[in-house]
Symmetry: C3
Subunit: 252 residues, 3 copies
């Protein structure tokens, strides 16, 4: 980032774009770290789906400005005994619940350090840690480049995996166009590779205009994942499947 | 707020998160008060529902940074004779229509001053006062700490109530998870208190993980309101009700 | 804009308000031009509908602060041979695909200059030019007041029209209230003018409160377009039509 600029604070969550939770996190940041730019990176991750969130989180943070701080919240165990993590992975900070959500970002990093954060705010609701706990941890990371004390560095191997598979051979997001994003990295797949999904074998294309309107195909999306799509149409509607549907990449 | 920082400008409205209105208000602020941080706090309040808006507005502004300025717009009478208010309540500024929307925030404040704002912009559409009238009033409050002239301080008792009840014994929001927020403050309710809603009596829990997946309960949400929820599910779907449904808290 | 302030960066797109694309564009800007204010102006334009986008883009940029830079993306031909434009129209910068999307903003401007931008980033996905190509072009315009090299000034007449009609005698947006925005400028229409839509002839009103709840009418919206609406109701639901439905303004 340019010298002197504050790191970007980015929110990733399953809060829902239309709900009242995103705005409260951004407002909390404005109070805690007013000089840091803020962005709702993505808050329509599939609700309660930690595995989908883990892969989407990795995908959507590949191009963030170096030094950015990402608050990640898909947290069905909020208020329970699950821990709180701060992870420094390839120059990006992540903070979130210790439930597998950070497992892909940490697991794929060339360099990764992990802290268990035991700091807690004076006032903590049982159900909105995104605002009350993770937001101040993220703001602290942006301001100080380290987690708030008390925090203890732990081995990345000690993180919870939460059953998160990598790759995730299924649909992890239906985007607003009806495109079906899978948790399968597409790098290295042949031009003839096919995506098995919804009982069909989709051919590969590089871009939407290569196939006829209404036709289904798969492509390597802008974040490196295999994605089923329909030119000027909805793959979710055409194929009749959505988040959770099995998908497999037949690579050659 | 930190010395020298401009106050946060926060939007609360029923404009709809996906509509073209939120962006235009934020863009207007960027032109009028470029140094002030801006946030869409919440813009999916139930359309035209002043009572629901009044309670949600209070709830979602409890944790704003001191000195923040909130533009609040649920305004079915836009373009008609209803007045324009600026309210200073417990260190937060609110501006919006004089139709009851600010009644809960003002009525519950320990200290409250109210101005009727007679200032009007040179160019004023009949239907988008959020951009053309309230946005410049809010920017003026952020820049100058006082409403634009002409404005006259009035008694809080002279504000329109618009039929807004407090508490509001009904559902005032179905959030993106399907949780049902009521307009009933939960403070002081016993651990054995039950929420009567949709013909059922829901038991209390402190957090989602305390009940089985698919089970309905109520809890005091992070903003102090009684809320019906289902662990890893949708209370709106399970109970078959939404905004407007009657709810009553049986406190002991 | 105030002296020394950076121009506003505004996004207009069909990315969908709940999708993962808006946040990535805003995050890219935060890295490239951290001092420039950023706003998602509107990202729920009808998918793939260049004509609707062209009219909505014009409408929603009329009040932007002078000098603002607008990234406009409705781009079904992404990754194909379509060109990239930077347009300076009446003091606003626009960048986007050369497919007709900028045709209304350019065509109605009192003064207009157009550049074909041949600059390309080192790393360019085939499908997300909003983040990888248009975002850095927009950031460059905000920082330098000129398109990145290589770029060649061309005649406005050389822009693609893409079949975009002006006016567009049809519905170009159903907003979150169910209001039906047409691509027909309403300036100069008589008080007795009627809007022909869905087999009905709607009378004119100036504001919602002038008609009974549940009653349909048309009005000149805050952006100058003819719009069908229902007081405290949804015109889309009442009339049973949506984006694409024919509409005609009978002006006297």
């Amino acid at each position: 980032m340019p010298e002197g600029a504050a790191p970007l604070l980015a929110l990733f969550s399953d809060f829902g774009a239309s709900g009242p939770y995103v705005g409260q996190v951004l407002a909390a940041w404005a109070g805690l770290a007013p000089a840091a730019p803020r962005v709702d990176l993505f808050s329509a991750a599939p609700p309660f789906d930690v595995e989908a969130g883990a892969h989407l989180l990795f995908a959507y943070t590949r191009r963030l400005p170096p030094g950015s701080v990402v608050e990640a919240v898909v947290d069905p165990g909020v208020g329970g005994p699950r821990g709180v993590l701060a992870v420094l992975a390839d120059g990006l900070w992540f903070c979130g619940p210790d439930n597998g959500l950070l497992a892909v970002a940490a697991g794929r990093a060339r360099g990764c350090r992990v802290w268990r954060v035991d700091w807690r705010p004076q006032s903590l609701s049982a159900t909105f840690h995104g605002r009350d706990l993770f937001a101040p941890v993220a703001a602290h990371l942006a301001l100080h480049g380290a987690p708030p004390a008390p925090a203890e560095e732990i081995s990345p191997a000690a993180m919870e995996r939460g059953g998160v598979a990598d790759p995730a051979e299924r649909v992890i997001l239906a985007d607003p166009y009806g495109n079906l994003v899978t948790g399968i990295p597409a790098a290295g797949a042949a031009e003839t590779a096919r995506l098995a999904i919804a009982g069909r074998l989709l051919p590969r294309a590089r871009r939407f205009g290569e196939v006829n309107p209404g036709e289904a195909f798969w492509y390597e999306n802008a974040d490196g994942l295999a994605e089923a799509a329909v030119n000027r149409g909805s793959a979710a509607a055409l194929l009749g499947v959505s988040v959770g549907a099995a998908a497999r990449l037949i690579r050659d």
